[in-house]
């Protein structure tokens, strides 16, 4: 269920007919009826099947790789090791599609040559007539390993005598924020509280594992049809193989979930190499077990918080350190650390602030993008600290939050002035109220309520100079075509563009075809990452559709003898606002305008607000285009005999700016409720000396449909965002507070706090026993 609250101050005179409504998504029928063709469903004549030899150890030298027996196996067409690759043997893993300059050490070997640095690192590629043959060939490859001492802890990795993983010193990235005077701030505090919080690896666990087919076509174009969030990877593939960019054509069909795990390139370059070597189409769908080691999971983080607060609840200073485990390659770790640094204070204004953050290389799995992108981990720690502060000074925790919420016009951690609406208070109040009364405790069941707020950016880092392009055109029969390379990763990215265009051109969604996920025949829309797809591609679509509308209405104004502003488009008709009987169907209008040579299509580019980066000494500058605010509240029941936690209610209340498709917004909130629950309670990759021990859905504990609580979505609309119709990004934001709210609810239920996630029954039971022991 959901309800909508629109600000009385919202944009005046906006009469929305399609936007914000519960429209069935236009990708729904093909998915429901099983007609949608995903990357792994694709088949070609003469296609070969690939397998990848992943390292089964985390730190070793490679003394040799013997592929002779594998190559000799009949039906095997291609066996590649690092020796067969272009000399550079490297693929860029920096922020895809950016033009604003990269970070250090973001080149990763395509195949390990002399050394493996993590469990899962690819060593050899095979293409054969069948998967079974390819598997057999893999088993015939002999790798001569010499185990070497690795380092498996982000703090140990920074010691002077730690084994070197890569770079000079295992420091992948470091940031600092120096703002105001923390010493003065702590001197002014009535209380000072210090805590350390840590969180774990989390696996994206998309339904569809990595999957792609690659082939070289009759024009010598290398084509890749892949499950990716980023069609702009055609550039990285081309660069890795020494090909011109225009010779690599990357297409993303419908994607069965990304969550950041398909942001950095996964299997595309492997298939490209095999297709070029074998001159046959080559397909690979990763097994679930290999998927666990084929993309980067969420970074484990450790935060220390030292907070000064007055007895009235005003925060006077914060001193925070953040440390993340980057694993064996940098990937996007520097950016994720930056998000955690900027997000260290959650949605609160802190004028005296000191933050030091470090990401260290280890021989653990390389970690990378995952919904929330460092901000979520930072926010989870910050919201735990807020709850403990409230307890310390004896104040209601929402009241404490209210005294410190950042407001429109305030500077954030990096001194960026917040321009859009900040409805943290309204969201928190509604979410908490929706929890209702707390059930009575029993002998073995205790209940708790928890709240968490957040500030999460949407849109990419501003010095990447992000752009998005879209083309909208009206056909002579009155139907509409939208062309934008946006990847549809399951959140309704493509459908939203149809809804926006339909609103502006006054045609139903059924009359609109969206061509998406192909960056060579469509204008480049940019990535489906960073909660930017709706914001950026929606904005470009809004601009292009508006341009077409302006052209059409200028022509029709002449026809009706009125001003363009006196016309409107709705329900498949153009009509005079004051005299709706004077109208023409969109179909006739298209023909009328076509006959007069009117431009019925437009290509527009939206440019996100740029900036030039941060001052390295103070960490001050403008990092993000804008932020989304909201809250999540949860109620839990804890079994005091077993430590089992049952989430009863899970309520997301968010200012989404403007919902484009309300059902899609609810889908995001509901999905995030489960994903956050998994992070809070059960999900955790277990590594032993870098080797993954629970890479299966039997032992990696995701919540199931049986674990779904009563989820409610409360959608608020300030219409203050930078996206189309004042919308804000929501994909990551709605997830940011979920785990923190559940963690806080458990602390409320059991009367003590556990500082390291996830809160397994075992940890909860130990905390209950420790509390009982200390009280007796």
């Amino acid at each position: 269920m959901s309800n909508i609250d629109t600000s009385p101050n919202a944009l005046a005179n906006v009469n929305l007919r399609q936007v914000g409504r519960n429209k069935p998504r236009n990708d729904a029928p093909t998915k429901v009826y099983g007609r949608a063709v995903y990357a792994g469903d694709f088949h070609m004549e003469g296609m070969l099947f690939a397998k990848v030899l992943h390292s089964d150890r985390a730190s070793a030298n490679i003394r040799g790789v013997d592929t002779a027996a594998a190559k000799a196996l009949p039906g095997v067409h291609s066996v590649l090791t690092a020796d067969d690759l272009p000399a550079s043997n490297a693929v860029m893993t920096d922020m895809p599609g950016q033009v604003g300059g990269g970070t250090k050490n973001t080149k990763q070997p395509i195949l390990a040559k002399d050394r493996v640095r993590f469990h899962g690192e690819p060593i050899a590629l095979v293409a054969a007539e069948t998967y079974e043959l390819a598997q057999k060939a893999l088993e015939l490859i002999v790798v001569d390993f010499e185990d070497t001492k690795g380092v498996y802890d982000a703090f140990e990795a920074q010691e002077p005598d730690a084994p070197n993983v890569f770079g000079d010193d295992n420091i992948v990235a470091a940031y600092k924020i120096r703002k105001g005077d923390v010493d003065k701030g702590f001197a002014e505090a009535d209380y000072v509280l210090e805590n350390t919080f840590s969180s774990q690896y989390q696996e994206q666990a998309f339904l569809e594992p990595e999957a792609a087919v690659a082939w070289v076509d009759e024009h010598d174009i290398l084509n890749i049809r892949s499950s990716t969030q980023v069609v702009e990877h055609f550039r990285a593939v081309a660069d890795a193989l020494g090909l011109p960019h225009n010779r690599v054509h990357l297409v993303a069909p419908y994607v069965g979930g990304g969550f950041g795990g398909k942001e950095v390139m996964t299997i595309e370059v492997w298939l490209a190499l095999l297709a070029m070597d074998s001159q046959r189409p080559v397909k690979l769908v990763q097994t679930r077990e290999n998927s666990f080691i084929s993309h980067g999971p969420r970074h484990p983080f450790t935060f220390t918080h030292k907070t000064g607060v007055t007895k009235d609840g005003k925060i006077t200073a914060m001193k925070i350190t953040a440390t993340s485990d980057a694993g064996a390659y940098a990937k996007l770790s520097p950016y994720i650390l930056l998000y955690a640094t900027v997000g260290a204070t959650g949605p609160y204004r802190v004028d005296n602030l000191w933050v030091d953050s470090t990401s260290a290389a280890t021989n653990n799995l390389p970690t990378c993008a995952y919904r929330g992108f460092g901000t979520m981990q930072a926010n989870t720690a910050c919201e735990a600290q807020m709850e403990e502060l409230a307890k310390l000074i004896g104040m209601d925790s929402l009241e404490l939050r209210r005294k410190n919420f950042i407001k429109t016009g305030d500077p954030n951690t990096t001194g960026q002035i917040i321009r859009s609406s900040v409805w943290s208070d309204q969201c928190a109040t509604k979410a908490l109220a929706a929890l209702g009364d707390r059930p009575e405790n029993t002998d073995t069941l205790v209940h708790g309520h928890g709240l968490a707020c957040y500030q999460q950016s949407y849109g990419r880092i501003r010095w990447m100079k992000d752009t998005s392009e879209c083309w909208v055109g009206l056909e002579v029969d009155g139907t509409v075509i939208v062309r934008c390379s946006v990847t549809d990763i399951g959140a309704g990215q493509m459908s939203a563009l149809a809804q926006i265009t339909g609103e502006i051109l006054g045609v139903p969604m059924s009359e609109i075809a969206v061509y998406f996920g192909d960056g060579h025949v469509n204008p480049l829309g940019g990535t489906s990452t960073a909660s930017r797809a709706l914001y950026m591609t929606g904005k470009a679509t809004e601009m292009a559709a508006t341009k077409v509308r302006d052209n059409l209405l200028t022509c029709m104004a002449e026809h009706f003898g009125v001003l363009p502003s006196e016309l409107d488009l709705a329900d498949g008709e153009v009509f005079v606002l004051d005299d709706p009987d004077r109208s023409m169907s969109v179909n006739d209008m298209a023909k009328y305008c076509a006959a007069r040579g009117i431009h019925r299509h437009a290509l527009e580019i939206y440019r996100a607000p740029p900036s030039e980066g941060l001052d390295p000494e103070t960490g001050q500058g403008e990092v993000f285009p804008d932020f989304t605010y909201g809250a999540h509240a949860a109620s839990v029941a804890v079994d005091t005999d077993t430590g089992e936690v049952t989430v009863i209610k899970s309520i997301g209340a968010h200012d989404v700016g403007q919902a484009i498709n309300l059902r899609a917004v609810e889908g995001q909130i509901e999905g995030s409720a489960l994903m956050g629950q998994g992070f809070a309670l059960s999900e955790e990759l277990l590594l032993e000396q870098g080797v993954l021990k629970n890479g299966s859905f039997s032992e990696y504990i995701l919540p199931t449909s049986m674990d779904v609580p009563d989820i409610q979505s409360i959608v608020l609309e300030s219409r203050s965002g930078l996206g189309p119709f004042g919308s804000k990004g929501i994909g990551e934001p709605v997830f940011a507070p979920v785990a923190a709210s559940i963690v806080n609810a458990i602390a409320d239920a059991i009367g003590t706090r556990i500082h390291d996630l996830p809160l397994t029954p075992e940890k909860v039971l130990a905390a209950i026993h420790a509390k009982n022991a200390s009280e007796n």
């Binding site: 077993t642 059960s682 032992e699 504990i701 995701l702 199931t704 049986m706 674990d707 397994t760 075992e762």
Partner: protein, 285 residues
């Protein structure tokens, strides 16, 4: 990746027993354990006997003194049996908590009993019903009490040429209480961390029969006989229950694995045996 294997598909029980006697493979029922093990390389067998065509092993009969379930009956079929909640409440709860819908539709009670897993969810419930299993070979069949069927981790008394064909037990005594608790890391599709089944019958205000079975805390599912003995003929006081739970826990020998530590399993065994005994004592009449 699933390796290639030979599959025979008998249509009748005698045909299946003949193939089994010839040493031509392992029985394959629902495949919910076998296929993951094959894919994961844990099971190396290359010849299997598919039992899915043998409808004569797929039945549930309720008689006055005996309830019998054919080995090829699926967990979902037991769950849907309208008389099961009354005839075997703990078993009904166990099959309701068993994995998830898809697995319940495929998995069979015979498979669950034969896989020998210490976390098999039907076993503790069937142990507290004092169930027996029928083992059949080409030359005839024998019955064996389930208590005693398991020898060690994934080892049973069943001979390679025998097929487990049914499980049967006497209906629950009127007034007796039958409880089952599955402690797991999530509510759906979960492997049991600690499983407890308890049966208590009362006569003249005293415990006339007590059965306690535990899963996932030893190499096999087992009956906690010493704890049961402590309760027989007694009024169950909180102190006695506590001591019996301790005795049951002492009989366990849990291990650390990716789901929990041995210590947590001991703590929860103690707590859950207490809880279930106390509930059963109050429920029994």
């Amino acid at each position: 990746m699933l390796p290639a294997f030979e599959l025979s598909q008998p249509k009748t029980l005698p045909e299946a027993l003949k193939v089994l006697a010839a040493g031509r493979g392992l029985p394959l029922a629902g495949g919910t354990v076998l296929f993951p093990d094959l894919r994961g390389g844990k099971e190396k067998g290359r010849e299997f006997i598919d039992l899915s065509g043998i409808d004569e092993l797929r039945y549930i009969t309720h008689e006055a003194k005996r309830i019998t379930v054919g080995a090829r009956t699926t967990i979902a079929e037991i769950l849907r049996d309208p008389a099961m909640a009354g005839a075997a409440p703990a078993l009904h709860k166990a099959v309701d908590n068993f994995a998830g819908t898809m697995v319940r539709n495929a998995a069979t009670v015979g498979g669950n009993l034969c896989c020998g897993s210490p976390s098999a969810d039907t076993v503790p419930a069937l142990l507290t019903l004092d169930a027996e299993v029928e083992l059949t070979r080409a030359s005839g069949s024998r019955t064996v009490p389930l208590d005693g069927y398991y020898l060690d981790y994934k080892k049973t008394v069943k001979k390679p040429d025998e097929l487990l064909t049914s499980v049967f037990w006497a209906p629950a005594e009127p007034g007796s209480a039958h409880l089952f608790f599955k402690l797991a890391r999530r509510k759906g599709d979960a492997v049991t961390v600690t499983g407890v089944s308890v049966m208590i019958a009362k006569t003249d205000g005293k415990c006339s029969t007590a059965r306690i079975a535990l899963s996932s805390v030893a190499p096999t599912v087992f009956r906690a006989h010493s704890a049961e003995e402590m309760l027989k003929g007694q009024k169950l006081t909180p102190d006695l229950i506590e001591r019996a739970a301790q005795a049951a826990t002492d009989q366990s020998s849990p291990i650390d694995d990716n789901r929990s530590s041995a210590n947590y399993r001991r703590l929860t065994t103690q707590a859950l045996v207490c809880r279930l005994l106390s509930q059963a004592w109050h429920q029994a009449s």
